[in-house]
């Protein structure tokens, strides 16, 4: 048995993989938060609830309608995105002329409503979601055993982040979005339909969260509080990384996930607090965040 600092390699690798998975979710969620914040100037507290909705829609789809995992991966984000756009059109839109904090308070209220509703409907115990057949089992890499689904989660998340990066940095729509982040009034005066752009951006951001939720369904238990537990950590991740760059979100998210996984192996008593401790250190040394710009 190979050991690294007194820990068997298989155990270390397992925790590292869990860390990478958590890190991928941090990356996807903080990316969504950053995209929304860039254009709407709102911190979307509902993000965790929307991630949870993604997981639940996948579970409901499978158990009630026989919707396959692959279909859920498409349908759940679309549904959650559509609901998000309705929320933006009917509620968030009224707050843009006010302080950012009202947006935070409104989305916090929405998160309570969604979480409370799912608690009542499905109870607090988690539901399990089977790993799709094509991804079940694992691959023996010689020195360790790699569960296929877990590898898929990490790859799919990173691909999704890169697709978002491409959309924002390399397409016309992305150019509008970046222009809108800098100066929405000027963009509007060039004839771009900025309110529509804002709605689409919010929809895309929350669809990302739901996508992560579907990915998470087979790994974690599908439960109403899975989102709120995660979102607070994601806030810390956002404070650490800053919301300046997409690649920054990916690197910070994955990196913190790995650090968290390693902490679980070597200092288990700090595993729940390590990310918050890192946040404290970053605030002391580099208050704007690792990739942040002071605006």
């Amino acid at each position: 048995m190979i050991e690294v600092f007194g820990v068997p390699l298989q155990g270390l690798f397992g925790q590292l993989l869990v860390g990478l998975i958590n890190g991928s979710f941090y990356a996807v969620l903080s990316l969504g938060l950053a995209i929304i914040f860039g254009l709407l100037n709102i911190i979307n507290f509902t993000h965790g609830a929307q991630y949870m909705m993604g997981a639940f829609f996948a579970w409901i789809g499978l158990t009630k309608f026989g919707l396959s995992y692959w279909a859920a991966l498409l349908v759940a984000p679309l549904l959650v995105g559509a609901i998000g756009m309705v929320i933006e059109r009917t509620m968030l839109k009224r707050l843009y002329h006010l302080d950012h904090l009202y947006g935070l308070l409104l989305t916090f209220g929405l998160a309570l409503i969604i979480e409370g509703y799912f608690f009542n409907e499905f109870g607090s115990s988690g539901q399990s979601y089977d790993i799709p057949e094509a991804l079940s089992g694992g691959t023996n890499l010689g020195f360790v055993f790699l569960p296929n689904y877990r590898a898929w989660v990490v790859v799919a998340s990173i691909v999704m982040c890169l697709v978002s990066w491409f959309l924002i940095e390399r397409t016309r729509l992305g150019a509008y979005l970046r222009a809108g982040t800098e100066n929405p009034k000027l963009l509007q005066s060039f004839g771009v339909n900025v309110p529509l752009l804002v709605t689409l951006t919010y929809g895309y951001g929350v669809a990302l969260a739901a996508f992560a939720g579907v990915l998470a369904a087979p790994v974690f238990q599908v439960s109403p509080d899975m989102g709120s537990k995660l979102i607070i950590v994601v806030f810390a991740v956002v404070v650490i990384g800053g919301m300046g760059s997409i690649l920054g979100s990916i690197v910070t998210g994955l990196g913190l996930g790995v650090i968290e996984g390693l902490t679980k192996v070597y200092f288990p008593e700090f595993s729940a607090t390590i990310i918050f401790l890192i946040m404290v250190i970053v605030l002391l040394l580099r208050p704007a965040g690792l990739f942040g710009r002071v605006r």
Partner: protein, 321 residues
């Protein structure tokens, strides 16, 4: 920015309302109102007033005030139950710990403004939640139960509800008075100046960070005082007190009553506690709280007291032709 009710100095009307409130609260237990419920409301009212000092008057949204409220409750519970100290010492120690924690959290959080400030306070409070969860004496999921109320200064038997009631009333009235004086002092004026226009306050030579930190520490200390007192009233300190739901609840109380109004937090706290106690919404409580949040933010931003004050102003001072 967050806008409160209309601004005015300490006024005769405020004093009249306060006098009326004190008289009503002294009479209430003799009129058959259950003292423990009243004490619970008073503690949460103080908590909300402390929070209002921050959000309503300084424009700083702390999403982690449960850390001070619940943390102080744990300290008081530990000292009174496990070490057998008196209630006075317990409350004092809880408050001092909350002040110290407030200073630390405040120093970190004011390094960023606005939305980041809220996220940092939330994250730090969550970190404290895990710390309390792991510490042995807090009893984990069960919490610290059966905290003895003891005798105040060795004389007054606080296990009698009525005795405790008047002590709690005195504590909360004193806390309320501290907030009221702070708001209407020159310090409070600087706070409002920072809320309205921070760069301008800086250019006028105010040490903005110091003022913010002072307000944050004061608010945390008072939240701790409320939490410590609550732990003696209900004889319980649990994870509920340090959970982020609690931080949200105090925001809700303040928002519902009226941000930046003197009496708003009292009204909001009373309403929220009464709704919880009456279990009107049953298992829909979480949803109902969310709905109140949404409604307040969308159509009711001045809160109950703020709306009443605005109405009062319209009626008494008709518009000039």
């Amino acid at each position: 920015m967050i806008t409160g009710g209309q601004e005015r100095g300490a006024s005769g009307r405020d004093y009249r309302i306060m006098a009326l409130l004190v008289v009503a609260l002294i009479a209430a237990p003799f009129l058959g109102v259950y003292p423990v419920l009243l004490m619970k409301i008073l503690c949460f009212a103080l908590f909300a007033c402390a929070f209002n000092l921050l959000l309503g008057y300084s424009g700083l949204l702390s999403f982690g005030h449960a850390a001070f409220f619940g943390g102080a409750a744990y300290i008081t519970g530990y000292l009174c139950k496990n070490l057998g100290l008196g209630p006075g010492t317990g409350i004092l120690a809880g408050t001092v710990c909350a002040l110290a924690l407030g200073w630390v959290v405040g120093s970190l959080a004011i390094r960023r403004a606005g939305i980041y400030f809220a996220m940092i306070t939330l994250a730090l409070a969550q970190m404290m939640y895990f710390v309390w969860l792991q510490l042995e004496f807090t009893g984990g999921e069960d919490g610290l139960q059966g905290i003895p109320r003891g005798r105040l200064a060795g004389i007054v038997d606080l296990s009698q509800d009525l005795n405790l009631y008047f002590v709690v009333l005195a504590i909360c009235a004193a806390g309320f008075w501290v907030v009221y004086r702070a708001i209407h002092s020159p310090f409070g004026q600087v706070l409002k100046a920072i809320r309205e226009n921070e760069p301008r306050a800086i250019s006028l030579g105010y040490d903005v960070d110091r003022v913010k930190l002072l307000a944050f520490t004061l608010s945390a200390g008072l939240a701790g005082l409320a939490g410590s007192t609550k732990s003696l009233v209900l004889q319980l300190a649990s994870l509920t007190d340090v959970h982020w739901h609690m931080s949200g609840e105090v925001v809700l109380m303040t928002l519902l009553g009226g941000l930046g109004t003197v009496f708003g937090p009292l009204v909001g706290a009373a309403l929220v506690v009464l709704l919880q106690n009456a279990a009107v919404f049953g298992r829909w409580t979480l949803v109902a709280q969310g709905v109140i949040f949404v409604v307040c933010v969308l159509v009711f931003r001045r809160g109950i007291v703020g709306e009443i004050a605005a109405l009062f102003k319209r009626v008494t001072r008709p518009q000039k032709p």
